[in-house]
């Protein structure tokens, strides 16, 4: 206003301006704080505090029930790295990460493309069908697949028996090694729906004209997929891959615990189940806390590494 009149603002006007901007600033701060502070508070109480506490406990020899804890420095970590089961658990975890990334991404992308690019009538129906496993609790999925894998009355053996003379009695969850492979199908089956929806949304954002132009130039569906669809949904795929990795490292506990409890003979142990086993079944809470810290560190490291690996120029829509 002062400028509009062509005069430099006098002292009074300047004061009013400052006051106005001051209260606006305050309002803005209060507004932002009202969103951030509660979130930060909850985040601190439910994430930061337990993390620090776990880190703290990992330096103690503590059963989880006694009143006293013995400070033992890094002994839990040293013992952890000497423990062959933890190495097997880490291996199994990364096996699941890799298997799920490949399995889920391949199938989710396939279904997403199939349900968007090929206009067929039942697309909506199939979209719902593929999403159903996401609505079911992982616990139920575990129990369901346990029935599928049951050696005597399971679906899989009954199905295979249709093609053989003798009854098939394979113990799908009882191999001495590689039983972890059997946990991959349920884990993949349970995960496809969500990522499929994410990719469908991404594909639907791609303007139809790109495909029309490509068709006019004579490129087929395959070519269109590689040169148009894939580059334009790469950002969403990256997010999906990171998310699969993180949820697997932190959350494969549930499906493993329901289906095998880490057995037989620790062959399907993952870090989460071993943590639980050590904390609540074998009463080594300090050691279990050290495993918790290991999961955190590995998750962070893997995120950084994966992000680097996937760093590729993102193609953005003009």
């Amino acid at each position: 206003m002062a400028r509009a009149t062509g005069h430099p603002p006098n002292l009074h006007e300047r004061k009013v301006n400052v006051m106005n901007s001051g209260s606006a600033k305050l309002q803005r701060t209060v507004f932002i704080a009202s969103f951030i502070v509660p979130t930060l508070l909850f985040f601190s109480v439910f994430t930061i505090y337990p993390t620090i506490k776990a880190l703290y406990f990992s330096f103690f020899d503590w059963s989880g029930m006694s009143q006293t804890k013995d400070f033992i420095g890094f002994d839990n970590y040293i013992e952890m790295f000497k423990d062959p089961i933890i190495w097997r658990a880490i291996g199994n975890d990364y096996f699941l990460v890799l298997g799920k990334i490949i399995g889920i991404m391949a199938l989710a992308t396939f279904f997403a493309v199939a349900l968007t690019r090929f206009n067929f009538k039942l697309a909506g129906f199939f979209r719902s069908i593929f999403f159903i496993p996401n609505v079911i609790s992982v616990v139920v999925i575990g129990v369901l697949w346990n029935f599928i894998y049951n050696p005597q009355i399971g679906f899989l053996n009954s199905f295979l028996s249709l093609f053989t003379k003798d009854q098939v009695t394979i113990t799908w969850l009882g191999f001495a090694d590689h039983t972890i492979w059997m946990l991959l199908p349920p884990a993949i089956w349970a995960g496809i729906g969500f990522y499929m929806l994410l990719l469908i949304a991404a594909i639907q954002n791609i303007p139809e004209s790109y495909y029309e132009a490509a068709s006019l130039e004579g490129s087929g569906q395959w070519r269109q997929f590689w040169t148009i669809t894939l580059p334009l949904i790469w950002e969403q795929m990256k997010v999906s891959i990171l998310n699969i990795m993180m949820t697997t490292l932190n959350g494969s506990f549930v499906i493993v615990w329901i289906m095998t409890e880490g057995g037989p003979d620790n062959s399907t142990q993952v870090m989460g189940t071993y943590l639980y086993q050590m904390a609540f079944r074998q009463y080594h809470f300090g050691f279990a806390s050290a495993i918790g810290v290991l999961i955190l560190v590995l998750s962070l490291l893997t995120t950084v590494v994966l992000q680097r690996l996937m760093r590729q120029e993102t193609v953005e829509l003009g």
């Binding site: 049951n150 009695t169 113990t171 037989p264 003979d265 074998q282 009463y283």
Partner: protein
């Protein structure tokens, strides 16, 4: 002024009476309500005229103050706990009993144990509560001296009437077994009669009949491979005792982390019996991956003839037992011809917290529950034999409980008293037994693995 005073006294008197009246009804209803997770106050007031039925357990001294009882509610239910607590309350009207019961009570009360303010009395059963660990953590009251002279409300010496003795940790006693259940091998008597198979009485007859069963196209033996403590409890441990001339101290030495006990020939003999069953193809190959419910279903469906399990099985599967199915049971099959039967007990114990605030009440409660009257009530309400010697044939207990009690009190049965192994060693034994039964390791590997775990745990 006088009127005012009278009015005030009248109000005060009404306030005093009202809660008491409420308590009276509360006390009755408590027994029929599910106590799940809830803190049930049996009696808040004192001196309730209606509650003068019994005598104070510890004759002479009146029990007062708060008294907290923690009990896990699992397979044995909580009917007995509610009843016994109500009875104890009636006998001790001035005591303010708080019953902390429920299927999740162990987890819920954990912070209190860690903080040093635990309940006074604890029933050790269910997940996340392990007697050996509680002892090692210094959470339980040393009852060694007390139990030597303690008598129950009937005047009997408690230690003398226990069917299985309490476990000793470095010659000290901290917890007393309340239940007397047994592991063992089951079959269907009706199926055996129909096929003309002989019921097993020892190892050789077990092998012989298994051969016939296999020839008839049925898998002889199933165990719960997902939880290998079933095969350990029902087959391996009794077989070790049989091979050790019926001397169960070998198991106690194992629990005390003595390496040489695990390396004894008795352990090897017993392990070789599992190998023999495995190599003859008697063990259901599906065992390795299945849980208890699945294995029990397969057994009830006659897919397998024998199952390694415990005496709670008929109760647990009561809804699924087919018509005509008749449970046959023997505590052990590892013994030689003419050898004694070995019953490996499965139990749950009771103890007093070291930091209990009302130890007098807790001890009086122990004296109260280890009586013949409460024992037969336990058998009746929980469906499992109590750890008190005595004839329960006249009680209302279910018939399989009476049969089991008969077996376990027979002079010709070797009863292994309750033994809790170190949790790490126990896990190592379970993993190794599952692997042994599945054929991935041999007995020498079993011993190597377990002794490694023992050495590590003993550090």
């Amino acid at each position: 002024m006088v009127l005012k005073n009278k009015l005030a006294m009248g109000i005060a008197a009404t306030m005093l009476v009202l809660p008491l009246a409420a308590c009276g009804s509360n006390n009755e209803t408590t027994n029929n309500q599910p106590a799940n997770n809830a803190e049930t106050k049996t009696n808040e007031g004192a001196n309730n005229a209606a509650n003068t039925g019994g005598e104070t357990a510890d004759a002479g001294t009146k029990l007062t103050g708060d008294f907290e009882i923690q009990y896990f509610v699992g397979g044995y239910g909580d009917a007995w706990w509610k009843k016994v607590i109500a009875d104890f309350q009636a006998a001790n009207p001035e005591l303010n009993i708080k019953a902390l019961g429920g299927p999740k009570i162990n987890e819920q009360n954990k912070p209190r144990w860690i903080a040093g303010t635990p309940p006074d009395f604890v029933y050790i059963d269910g997940p996340e509560l392990n007697d050996r660990q509680l002892v090692e953590d210094g959470q339980l009251e040393d009852l060694t001296e007390w139990i030597q002279t303690a008598t129950n409300v009937d005047g009997d010496k408690i230690i003398d009437i226990l069917a299985q003795a309490p476990q000793q940790y470095d010659s000290k006693i901290y917890n007393i077994p309340l239940v007397l259940n047994s592991w063992g091998i089951f079959w269907d008597k009706a199926l055996f009669a129909e096929k003309g198979w002989t019921e097993p009485t020892d190892y050789q007859s077990f092998l012989d009949v298994s051969e016939k069963i296999k020839a008839a196209g049925i898998t002889p033996f199933i165990h719960t491979g997902k939880y290998p403590y079933y095969i350990n409890g029902a087959f391996l441990f009794p077989a070790i005792v049989s091979a050790n001339n019926n001397d169960y101290t070998v198991l106690q030495d194992m629990a005390a982390n003595k390496v040489e006990a695990y390396e004894s020939p008795a352990v090897m003999t017993a392990l070789n019996k599992i190998v023999e069953l495995r190599d003859k193809g008697f063990i259901d190959k599906g065992s390795v991956q299945i849980n208890h419910t699945d294995s029990q279903m397969l057994f009830l469906q006659h897919k397998d003839a024998f199952i390694a399990n415990g005496l709670w099985l008929p109760n647990e599967m009561s809804k699924d037992v087919p018509q005509g199915f008749q449970f046959g049971f023997i505590p052990s099959v590892g013994q030689d011809n003419g050898g004694k039967i070995v019953a490996n007990t499965s139990t749950a114990t009771v103890a007093i917290a070291k930091n209990a605030k009302n130890k007098d009440a807790a001890k009086a409660f122990l004296q109260f529950i280890f009586s013949k009257a409460q024992a037969s009530q336990w058998a009746e309400l929980s469906g499992a034999p109590s750890n008190i010697k005595g004839d329960i044939s006249a009680s209302n207990a279910p018939s399989h409980v009476k049969d089991a009690a008969k077996y376990l009190t027979d002079a010709n049965t070797v009863v292994i008293p309750t033994i809790t192994y170190n949790a790490d060693v126990d896990k190592a034994m379970q993993d190794a037994s599952a692997a042994l039964a599945a054929g991935t390791i041999e007995p020498a590997d079993w011993v190597k693995r377990v002794t490694d775990a023992v050495k590590k745990a003993a550090k």
